[in-house]
Symmetry: C2
Subunit: 340 residues, 2 copies
């Protein structure tokens, strides 16, 4: 899922987004609550109508942003009290409030309101966050009352296997239409994240989508898919694009680099995106050096296309019976097996 924080994938129109092959888009409840506010989105007919995207959408719960971006006043069993950075007013976000906001936003999937402890955190703190997350999940399930919207639970537990085990079993017992693994992509070593995925996914129902939150690098996605993950979200392709970086094969290229100044070849000859079909590395280098908006748009589109191609190729390889954790369809040795 490309990330459309404020109801827009930054710098990309909805038709360009559809051309990347993207199906589902994530938007952030925290940001949309602050601007324009869920009432305006609801009045527009919901988030799909508001942003002009008729594909599937998911909203997060707002909790992660409150913990990482908000001016936090207090966390207790009731919820999270924080200060609105735009006008200084105090906002209490609770499981019930998150559900109300997400139901008004009207995405296809709403996420449970959880507590995501920072990394590293003590075992006591993580255990406490797990306890609260599970209690809040019960309140979310009670408060969520929109039949056309799926509620996903979130497994916490940090890097403590017995807490992950407890959390996975507790969340699975709610029998929700999908389950996410949260508390990853918060600064832990990538090996710890892989270990969490390997441990947790076997504990989740096989017939429901499994969503690994905040992950979107190629290698991590391949490992996660090999272990049974179905969904991802990540700001990386668009954030890298806005910083002049392109994803090509398994590499990251800084398009500002002087080696591209005279390079009149496509960015990635295998890629069907407009940046690669209509333009050259030299032109992209020129746009990035000139700080032209078009450069950010083109690289964001390319990077999104690259990730979607990769996930699509993973799906094909799985169906063809030749998928593995080291999946790298752009490598010459793989080309006999995979379309790229």
């Amino acid at each position: 899922m490309p990330v459309g924080t404020l109801g827009t994938v930054k710098g990309v129109t909805t038709s360009q987004l559809a051309e990347t092959g993207a199906q589902m888009v994530l938007s952030n409840t925290y940001h949309l609550h602050l601007q324009p506010g869920e009432e305006i989105v609801a009045d527009a007919g919901g988030l799909h109508r508001f942003m002009g995207w008729d594909g599937p959408m998911l909203t997060d719960s707002g909790g992660f942003q409150v913990f990482s971006l908000g001016d936090l006043n207090r966390i207790d069993d009731e919820g999270v009290d924080f200060r609105n950075p735009r006008n200084g007013s105090r906002i209490l976000l609770t499981p019930e409030r998150s559900m109300q906001i997400q139901m008004r936003l009207g995405a296809d999937v709403a996420m449970a309101f959880d507590q995501c402890p920072p990394y590293p955190a003590t075992e006591n703190d993580v255990a406490e966050a797990c306890r609260r997350t599970h209690a809040w999940l019960g309140r979310c399930a009670d408060a969520h009352q929109r039949d056309d919207q799926a509620l996903f639970g979130i497994v916490q537990g940090g890097c403590f296997p017995h807490l992950r085990d407890l959390s996975a079993r507790t969340v699975a017992d709610f029998n929700l239409p999908g389950i996410a693994i949260g508390g990853v992509s918060v600064g832990e070593p990538v090996e710890e994240m892989h270990q969490i995925v390997r441990q947790v996914t076997p504990l989740l129902p096989a017939d429901r989508p499994r969503y690994l939150m905040g992950i979107g690098t190629l290698r991590e996605m391949a490992v996660a898919v090999a272990n049974g993950i179905d969904m991802f979200d990540c700001v990386l392709p668009t954030r890298l694009g806005r910083h002049g970086t392109a994803l090509v094969g398994g590499e990251r290229w800084n398009l500002r680099n002087a080696r591209f100044r005279h390079d009149h070849t496509p960015l990635d000859a295998s890629c069907p995106c407009i940046a690669c079909r209509h333009h050259t590395r030299a032109y992209l280098n020129h746009l990035i050096r000139s700080e032209e908006l078009l450069g950010l748009t083109l690289l964001s589109i390319h990077n999104l296309t690259h990730l979607i191609r990769f996930t699509t190729a993973m799906g094909q390889a799985i169906r063809d019976g030749c998928f593995s954790e080291d999946f790298a369809p752009w490598e010459p040795s793989s080309r006999a097996h995979h379309t790229w």
Copy 2:
């Protein structure tokens, strides 16, 4: 002509640009000379290939920017000596050098290197600029040697009718494939500009395109077209778009305004652009307030579409025999006569 200063109409892809109905695009020789430099553009196969635009293109001479933006050292009959703002090096721009650069850039139309005096200027200064502009035009015509590129001359003369008369007759004598009226849109009252157009166009060959430089507001274009002008360029639609302003009918709307927050109707129901077809005023208001890149792109596309619709409608009204200086096809009283 939308303005693509650095080989890109800011924030707009070439396919979005084509969808606005735009035919010809202007790029700036001064800016492209400084970044990426005409050698890189020539190596790419010319400006069309470099920016991925296969419609007609025009480059200005660089003179206007040197006079208005450059750190000017000296102007004399040889040319203009200025300091490169990027690295402090000194650059001498002469008629011959401007032709060399524009031939390398390879647009369909190159503009003669002229001296455009500021407004207001004394009669002596304008007369001197005219004399130099005419001498430089001779050198441009000698130096220009690309059969697949048209060279347009530029009429100067400020607000002095006898100097405009002299300049128009002198430039017309060169028998070039097109002629521009320069030295307008430099701060003079709009009535002076209208007066210049009324005086100069009858002196220009009727079978060649006449280009009024730097003008692109609806009312001024209508008056100019009524007096025989064929071509315009203006940064206004994209610059206004980047500042959150939309052109609707004959008005300018600031989309940041609170009155649009809850307005879930299209920006302009008569407009076929993606901003108007897929989105609402409330969504655009949200994007502008959030300083989202997409807002700038959508409003730029809308404003370009608006101007191109207007010029297209002027052409149709002329063919229908019902065009006049106060042309305003969006007004209810005009709808019986004009498609809008």
